[in-house]
């Protein structure tokens, strides 16, 4: 490490770091931005993107039409410094830009026991992004708001589950953006032209064929996160193609699948033949290229399901649902299941969601059903992004593969994975109960 006072490189010649590298071709406007003609903030953002493009070996930049930013999470002081630096330079986003879940339930900060210090830092970073003109959606499921991108649109999205949903289910085009690149894209409207922005890189790479999976399991909410977890482990950062999902697979099921695959692996896109828009047929999904074929059996899925549980026994301290943020449909289904029952006094029941869903539930009169049963709604954030669980809570139950995958390491809690029905039954009884029949392999004792 050393300090430098060198002039920042600005022109193509000066940007050249070694002799064998051809610098990117920039448009006249890119050069002007890089030169500072539009201000210091766009200059800084463009400088970062151009250097990134050269690292990636991109030839040029391309226009994007929408951005989803997850830099609004208070991960460290450096993240805050970066946001406040751009805000202090009066940076403004020039394309519609949504904000991810952040590190605070901002309308109910005192409901969750955050420290004063935490509240202050989380608000500062949130305010910096608001000052730049981002839209306060505060959700990791921006694809379930009014800001849904269109098929084929070039976008720059952060947040792994949102990225995989945008690419796979919507057919919008994004790479895995995140720290720093998301807001730089929003300020300049540009990103390096490479990866999933290009049609030739969006074809399937491995075929996964579901083999003899019982219909009743295909119809259960727990099937999809387990399948996602399995896919992430097997596909790594390749593009998996799924054959055998029911044609009526819901958006929420694909959301759970993608979130699982983006947690256990680096999956940024999948195809489901006959369901997702770039995979009308098997041939469509692979675009003529050759591929490896893997069969997925019920035994494989049982193994994946077991991996998602890091606790055994019947101890249960909390049920936590909503990673990605619980949708209106998921919340209505929960209300149906829990109606007329009470969460056990020894169990905390938390649903992490966004303001849009809470207000929709309120308008339908369903919020009362949930809160009356003892369910607490948390908005804008989640248990992985903010310290909101009481220290006595050690064992969680969830139907989210993402919560199940990350909670042991990130927040030091053990997890039992179950279906939505399992979660409700367990919360009511005050101990873990799971329906095993759906997962039983025929012939096994």
């Amino acid at each position: 490490m050393n300090e430098t006072n060198d002039e920042r490189p600005t022109t193509n010649d000066q940007r050249r770091t070694t002799n064998d590298e051809r610098p990117m071709t920039l448009t006249e406007r890119d050069e002007k931005v890089l030169n500072g003609d539009f201000g210091t903030a766009p200059k800084m953002a463009m400088n970062i993107l151009v250097q990134l493009g050269e690292v990636l070996g991109a030839d040029e930049l391309l226009d994007i039409e929408q951005v989803h930013v997850d830099g609004c999470i208070y991960e460290s002081e450096a993240h805050l410094d970066f946001a406040e630096k751009l805000a202090s330079l009066e940076a403004r986003v020039i394309v519609p830009t949504t904000l991810n879940a952040t590190s605070l339930d901002m309308r109910h900060p005192d409901a969750w026991g955050y420290s004063a210090q935490w509240k202050s830092q989380a608000r500062r970073i949130a305010n910096a992004y608001l000052a730049m003109g981002c839209t306060p959606t505060w959700t990791c499921a921006p694809y379930q708001t009014e800001f849904v991108p269109k098929f084929g649109q070039q976008i720059a999205w952060a947040e792994s589950n949102a990225i995989v949903f945008a690419n796979s289910v919507i057919g919008a085009r994004t790479n895995r953006y995140g720290d720093f690149t998301d807001i730089c894209a929003a300020i300049t409207g540009r990103v390096p032209k490479y990866g999933l922005h290009l049609a030739e890189n969006r074809r399937g790479q491995i075929l996964f064929e579901l083999k003899n999976i019982p219909d009743a399991l295909l119809d259960d909410d727990a099937f999809f996160p387990v399948l996602g977890h399995y896919l992430g482990k097997r596909a790594g950062d390749k593009i998996p193609v799924l054959l055998g999902l029911p044609h009526n697979t819901t958006q929420d099921a694909l959301k759970a699948l993608g979130a699982g695959a983006a947690s256990s692996g680096g999956v940024a896109m999948f195809h489901a033949v006959g369901i997702t828009p770039e995979a009308k047929t098997l041939q469509d999904a692979f675009g003529g290229s050759t591929y490896e074929r893997v069969e997925i059996t019920l035994s494989d899925l049982n193994a994946a399901r077991a991996e998602l549980s890091s606790a055994d026994g019947s101890q249960l301290d909390a049920v936590v649902l909503g990673s990605p943020h619980f949708s209106l449909q998921e919340s209505l289904r929960l209300a149906e299941l829990i109606h007329g029952q009470k969460v056990h006094s020894s169990v905390e029941f938390i649903v992490t969601t966004n303001r849009i869903v809470r207000e929709a539930l309120r308008a339908r009169g369903v919020l009362q059903t949930l809160t009356g049963a003892g369910v607490r709604l948390c908005e804008d954030t989640c248990i992985l992004l903010s310290p909101m669980l009481r220290s006595e809570i050690r064992v969680l139950m969830t139907n989210s593969a993402k919560y199940a995958y990350y909670a042991p390491n990130l927040i030091d809690r053990r997890v039992v994975f179950g279906s939505l029905r399992d979660c409700v039954a367990s919360a009511v009884q005050g101990r873990v109960v799971r329906e095993e029949e759906l997962w039983r392999v025929p012939g096994d004792e």
């Binding site: 050393n2 050269e54 690292v55 991960e75 460290s76 450096a78 993240h79 970066f82 720290d179 680096g266």
Partner: protein, 137 residues
């Protein structure tokens, strides 16, 4: 003793003790920016102090938040003295790029060939220059 010509993704000079791994590392959840140590329990270098050393690894892996963790380490002075990688890695490169933009601190980052990477396996000390040349012993 040896000399390698690498490709500088973030140019700078550095020298120090070499710490080598052939296993990718997720900086998010794997690198403690406050201590400059590896905290991924599944990683071969778990518990090792890496701050101030020439860290040789194939690439990062995992979440893009790794960029911010590296930046936080740079801010606190707990980053490696330099990174020598086998693959062009956007996560680590971004941390280094923003380190220069935001804090005016240079974390040199050099890419080397697979063969040269293996050659660094037993290196104890290395010196890098701005053109990506690496001398080691």
């Amino acid at each position: 003793m040896g000399t390698i010509q690498g490709h500088a993704l973030n140019s700078g000079n550095a020298q120090g003790e070499v710490i080598f791994t052939d296993e990718p590392l997720s900086f998010w959840g794997g690198y403690d920016a406050r201590e400059g140590t590896i905290i991924d329990k599944h990683h071969a270098l778990y518990g090792e102090h890496v701050a101030g050393k020439i860290f040789v690894l194939p690439s990062a892996r995992g979440s893009s938040t790794g960029s911010g963790i590296l930046l936080e380490a740079i801010r606190l002075g707990n980053a490696p003295a330099a990174l020598i990688l086998k693959r062009r890695d956007a996560i680590l490169a971004l941390g280094a790029i923003v380190g220069r933009e935001l804090y005016n601190k240079i974390l040199p980052l050099v890419i080397v060939s697979d063969e040269d990477f293996e050659g660094l396996h037993k290196a104890r000390f290395a010196r890098l220059d701005e053109d990506g040349a690496i001398e080691y012993e």
